[in-house]
């Protein structure tokens, strides 16, 4: 453990910015956001949480997978044209000139040239994360990291592997915090390369990885004293006491499974307006869209954040939409985070930050939903479900839950 004087924080960040892009919470127009830091930017640590998580710095809200253009075969066969087009496409890539351009024959007398996005990422240091923010990355690491033999995402990995996470423990948790309810805590070090704890006049800093140990080599760190260590422990214990545990985690998965067909989903989702705010401010919601944006003969393949409340989230090419009804989309979010994801990746997909409660336009409360629906007692009021489709839980029997009369008919098309 070491100690950093509060007044040395700007110099410390400036030192880090020599080798990496630094990101830190800053207050702009009265709002605290994670923003790129540069010397002179005041770091905001009084406010507990930045409005959004720092997810976007490792999993950006949109990114280019590849660029492409079409050449008419007659063009392609003209001497030099294909090579010129390849050069142009390659140079249009940002960074060092992009990767190799691949040419494939395409239908209707075209040739398609494609170049993939550079997968080298800029090193980043994200300072001022709270334990829940850092834990969000650890939880997302599973789905993007090939856990269980599933997909390994090189784009996420490129940024994640060169990012250093410097976490500052929580001094005064909010009433909406429930990190302890999901196995975390206000001074939890999971995901942190270094954990900083505020004490009088500075921070006690502890490394939890090789990257973290390297950070603590900065000469501005001083030897930590016994009183400082004690003050840090006291601060952590005090914060720990302020966070409630609003539901029982153990029985949650089975409770959600048992309540899949419950009519209570309709009641709980009544005031939900089906936007996407909760998913976008969340440290670990990761669902995404892949779309091609084409202008005439050139285009880019983009990945961008999707959200499961989007009415088109499960809209299929046939026109069928298994989750056309709002209650079924609502149910899916909670089931994904507390049942499907743990079942597949052995990790929850929630770190208890409470942003979804604070920024929801109608203050849907995840703690309330989980207390009601995750209990051991089955709530099957009003639905003669018969259990069909509830067994594995991932079958879209969702049309049964609420809004059947009008919405159900729109989703039952078979083409």
């Amino acid at each position: 453990m070491k100690f950093l004087k509060e007044s040395d924080l700007p110099a410390f960040l400036e030192h880090l910015s020599g080798e990496a892009a630094v990101v830190a919470p800053a207050k702009v127009d009265g709002m605290v956001r994670f923003l790129p830091w540069s010397p002179g930017t005041e770091v905001e640590l009084e406010a507990l949480l930045a409005r959004q998580s720092a997810k976007e710095f490792i999993f950006p809200q949109w990114e280019t997978f590849l660029k492409f253009r079409y050449l008419m075969v007659c063009d392609a066969k003209r001497p030099g044209t294909t090579e010129d087009a390849k050069m142009e496409l390659r140079l249009s890539e940002e960074g060092e000139g992009g990767g190799e351009v691949v040419a494939v024959p395409a239908p209707a007398a075209h040739e398609l040239l494609m170049v993939g996005a550079e997968q080298q990422a800029v090193s980043q240091v994200i300072f001022g994360l709270r334990p829940c923010d850092a834990r969000g990355f650890v939880q997302m690491d599973r789905v993007f990291g090939g856990y269980g033999g599933f997909y390994f995402d090189p784009y996420y990995h490129a940024r994640r592997s060169v990012a250093t996470l410097l976490v500052v423990s929580c001094h005064e948790p909010r009433s909406t915090c429930f990190c302890r309810g999901v196995g975390g805590g206000p001074a939890d070090a999971e995901g942190a390369d270094v954990l900083f704890t505020r004490v009088p006049e500075g921070f006690v800093a502890q490394a939890f990885s090789d990257k973290g140990a390297a950070v603590l080599q900065y000469p501005g760190f001083e030897e930590v004293s016994e009183p400082q260590v004690a003050a840090a422990e006291q601060s952590k214990a005090r914060a720990e006491e302020m966070v409630s545990v609003p539901f029982e985690l153990e029985s949650l998965r089975e409770g959600l499974r048992a309540n899949f067909e419950s009519a209570d989903w309709q009641e709980l989702s009544r005031r939900c307006i089906s936007c996407g705010t909760c998913t976008y401010v969340c440290p670990n919601c990761y669902c995404f869209n892949v779309t091609d944006e084409v202008v005439e003969t050139q285009g880019e393949r983009l990945r961008s954040w999707d959200n499961c409340f989007n009415p088109s989230y499960t809209l299929e090419a046939s026109g069928h939409n298994p989750r056309d009804a709002k209650p079924s989309r609502f149910r899916n979010r909670f089931n994904h985070k507390f049942w499907y994801y743990p079942e597949k990746y052995d990790s929850l997909l929630c770190s208890g930050c409470g942003r979804c409660i604070t920024y929801c336009p109608t203050r849907i409360d995840i703690r309330e939903v989980l207390s009601v629906m995750g209990g051991n007692e089955t709530r099957a009021a009003g639905q003669a479900a018969g259990g069909a489709g509830a067994a594995d839980g991932q079958v879209a029997a969702d049309a049964k839950v609420g809004g059947d009369a009008a919405d159900g008919e729109e989703s039952q098309h078979g083409r």
Binding site: A47, W62, R271, I273, Y280, P361, G402, D404
Partner: protein
């Protein structure tokens, strides 16, 4: 204020007991003593949760639009303030809500508190807000307390409100309030309109760089009802792109503003829903001023009117040479 609350509860209780409605939508307590949320009361016990106070900002008519009113044939009671009633009028003008299925309780309004004006005065989280006449007291969990003058806390739009009483209602919760006369005024736009085009560009670029395309504004808007058919959601063709950055974000919002023009009364629901505090009320108000200046039209005032951009009128003052 508490009179109106008692009347709302009484009216809701009666309507439910007499079987005239299946559900009553009002405002009620949120997760702490400073939050108000939409509440759907279906019995006498749930009616006791209904509240009326200056924190009741939600435009509850957002729950009446297609795909939000579930089941689709439910008979619904709903509370509306003056501004809320105008979006209800807009929905009725377009035939999008069945008047026969609605029981409308109009609530004359003295102004709604802008929660952001309170929150900015504290470093820590406010967990309790109490209103006592013209005094508002806000408190954090640690006990830090501040007193405010209620009129100073109101939403910007309340200062220019000309329709504090509901434009349509079956019953009214208490006495109506005085209604300002004369032409509309646009105090919120003074500063914006004094900017040069370059300065406006700069302002729009700054605020729209924050947009996260969460669609909260779109979904909180009672007259924005296209859902999965929305131009902003279309992927084939991709009319508004997936690059979440200023030019596309601005286009996204312009699509919304232009599409609701003529039906939007600047109720401000979009502004309050935005998690990154983009000044949406300002932009919608600007659109409405343009409509008023061009066509003398104000949205959501009379059920028998047609929204301005859906009417063809040979006497249209705009375009008369």
């Amino acid at each position: 204020m508490s009179d109106r609350q008692a009347i709302i509860r009484e009216l809701a209780r009666e309507a439910l007991a007499e079987g005239r409605i299946d559900c009553f939508v009002g405002w009620g307590p949120g997760y702490d003593g400073s939050q108000v949320i939409p509440v759907f009361a279906k019995d006498a016990a749930e009616v006791e949760e209904l509240q009326w106070n200056p924190l009741c900002h939600h435009n509850l008519t957002m729950f009446l639009k297609r795909k939000m009113a579930e089941p689709a044939d439910a008979r619904i009671g709903v509370c509306v303030k003056g501004c809320d009633s105008r979006t209800l009028v807009a929905l009725l003008q377009e035939g999008l809500v069945d008047r026969e299925r609605l029981y409308i309780v109009g609530v004359p309004c003295d102004g709604v508190i802008d929660r952001r004006k309170i929150d900015r005065e504290f470093a820590a989280e406010v967990v309790e807000v109490g209103v006592n006449g013209d005094t508002v007291v806000a408190r954090t969990a640690a006990g830090a307390e501040k007193h405010f003058d209620r009129p100073a806390l109101l939403l910007d739009q309340c200062a220019a409100c000309r329709f504090p009483n509901p434009r349509v209602a079956d019953d009214i919760a208490g006495d109506t309030v005085p209604e300002p006369e004369g032409e509309p005024v646009w105090p919120a736009l003074e500063e914006f309109e004094s900017l040069s085009p370059a300065e406006k560009d700069g302002l729009l670029a700054a605020v729209f760089s924050s947009c996260i395309r969460c669609f909260a504004c779109i979904h909180a808007c009672p007259v924005c009802y296209c859902w999965d058919q929305c131009v902003n959601r279309s992927r084939t063709p991709a009319l508004v792109g997936q690059r979440v950055e200023t030019p596309e974000n601005l286009m996204f919002q312009l699509v919304h503003i232009f599409h609701v023009a003529g039906r939007c009364p600047s109720c401000g629901a979009c502004d309050r829903a935005c998690p990154v505090e983009i000044p949406l009320y300002l932009l919608h108000q600007k659109m409405n001023k343009e409509l008023y200046d061009m066509l003398g039209f104000e949205a959501g005032v009379n059920v028998d009117d047609r929204p301005a951009l859906q009417a063809f009128n040979l006497d249209d003052p705009f375009g008369q040479g």
